[in-house]
Amino acid sequence: MSEQIILSARGLDFYYGPAQALRSIHLDIPAKKVTALIGPSGCGKSTFLRCLNRMNDLIPGARAEGSLTFHGEEIYQKGRDVAALRRRIGMVFQKPNLFPMSIYDNVAYGPRLHGIRSRSALDETVERSLRAAAIWEEVANRLKRPALGLSGGQQQRLCIARALAVEPEVLLMDEATSALDPISTGRIETLLGTLKDRYTIVLVTHNMRQAARVSSRTAFFLNGEVVERGPTERLFSMPRDRRTEAYLTGCLG
């Protein structure tokens, strides 16, 4: 089975000031698949995820070395248009981070930023995104109401809709279900199943069963290194590294 590699790390090192958070990461992310990054807290999986859309730029003193490419172009290249990169690589955060505006305005925020002004085009994008995030039925009759009045699970799906509205190629999910109840989590996992045909999804999760359920590839991080990576089924059933096995069976982390 041939797969197209869309994101690729080659010897990526990452530092927060003097502290090294990632050590020589080699990792390929295939297009239109769900890739799960697992590992104990502080292992670097979220740091790696936030390298992909340069969200780490917000942290003073953070810097990357080595190679990290998106469609073959260096993500950390000098003069890179970071806003354009982030438009193509969307992100959903651990806690729902909707803006204090209406449901409609939240979803329309991205398209408006990128210059879409026409009312009908915005209406269409908002509806399409809300449908894609499986939340249209729940909010269709209250689009003008404040987004912060929704439940946590609904807010997170609205965040996904907001990210989809700018039509990214990649969707990064940083423990996006860890603050949600099991039912909301289940909904989002089902949603990921429908999204993976159209988007490349990279998922950081603490929930091993979630990684097993939704991803086709998994990478196991430990102490800033990728210990093992491979097809999810193989990695979970026949881990090659002793440390992966220890983590999966609950003896590590």
């Binding site: 806003a83 438009r87 955060f93 204090p100 991205g110 990128h114 700018v166």
Partner: protein
């Protein structure tokens, strides 16, 4: 009662006493000013102007001058102060520069206003040829209140939730669109607070205005731009000084004080209402 209860009770009593003392003091001050000023207050006093020939007293010119000075100085300090705060908090990379600016703002906000008065008189009235006018006074006051607006705005920009920044940047927003659509609206409270404090200092200021805006109590002509630029005169606080110090007319002085209290209360409510309105949008 065990010792823990006693300590708890003592702490509560002390806190209640401080709160009570503060409230009592404020009420007593306002009450006394109102009590002494009320007999002088009349519709004619509020809407008339002073005339030696006619033998009438009236403070309408000072009320108008006060409002003009507040409006002009806020119109200058608000864009400059907020703009500088946004630059220093969001854009400036040089730590030394940012800290130097914060230090300078701290020093400037503690400088006695008589110093601003001298600088204003030298720069605006003399060098720039504005003479003693409301414009020169307003410009001097906008410099004096700049540190206040700068600092309160900076504090509220820093307090804007990180989640807004991450959310907007994650969608590919540029820095300025993010600031304009999310960070500034989230900072309205702080900006409004800065404006209230600035307006408060403007309303209460005398030294600066005596040196830069004049003491005339005659109605000025604001009908054309030229005459408005030339307008010169006392605000309520300087009028209060003139009544109390130069004419020993304490009845009128207390009446002016009462009007000042009401004006300050009105400014506060207005600012609060504006804040609520902006935040809702």
């Amino acid at each position: 009662m065990n010792p823990r209860h006693i300590r708890d009770f003592a702490a509560k009593a002390l806190l209640w006493l401080s709160a009570g003392a503060v409230s009592a003091l404020l009420l007593a001050l306002a009450g006394y000013a109102g009590f002494r000023g009320a007999p002088e207050l009349s519709w004619r006093f509020l809407t008339g102007q002073e005339s030696i020939l006619g033998g009438t007293a009236g403070i309408l010119p000072s009320v108008v001058n006060t409002l003009v000075v507040i409006a002009v100085s806020l119109a200058v300090v608000l864009p400059v102060g907020v703009g500088a705060a946004v630059y220093l908090t969001e854009y400036a990379r040089n730590r030394l520069f940012v800290e130097g600016a914060a230090f300078a703002a701290g020093v400037l906000s503690g400088v006695p206003s008589i110093l601003y008065a001298m600088i204003g008189a030298l720069v605006f009235c003399d060098k720039l040829g504005l003479q003693k006018t409301l414009l020169a006074g307003s410009l001097t006051l906008s410099i004096m209140t700049l540190p206040t607006v700068l600092r309160t705005t900076q504090e509220s920009l820093k307090a804007a939730p990180l989640s807004y920044r991450e959310g907007a940047l994650g969608l590919g927003a540029g820095k300025w669109p993010m600031i304009r659509t999310l960070i500034l609206p989230a900072s309205v409270d702080g900006i409004v607070t800065g404006c209230i404090l600035a307006a408060g200092r403007v309303v209460g200021e005398t030294a600066v205005l005596m040196y830069t805006a004049g003491l005339s109590m005659v109605m000025q002509d604001f009908s054309s731009l030229q005459s408005a630029l030339d307008a010169s005169g006392a605000t309520l606080s300087t009028a209060l000084y003139v009544y109390a110090k130069e004419r020993a007319d304490f009845g009128a002085a207390f009446a002016v004080a009462t009007v000042l209290l009401f004006l300050t209360a009105a400014i506060n409510s207005l600012a609060a209402a504006v804040g609520r309105r902006v935040r809702r949008v």
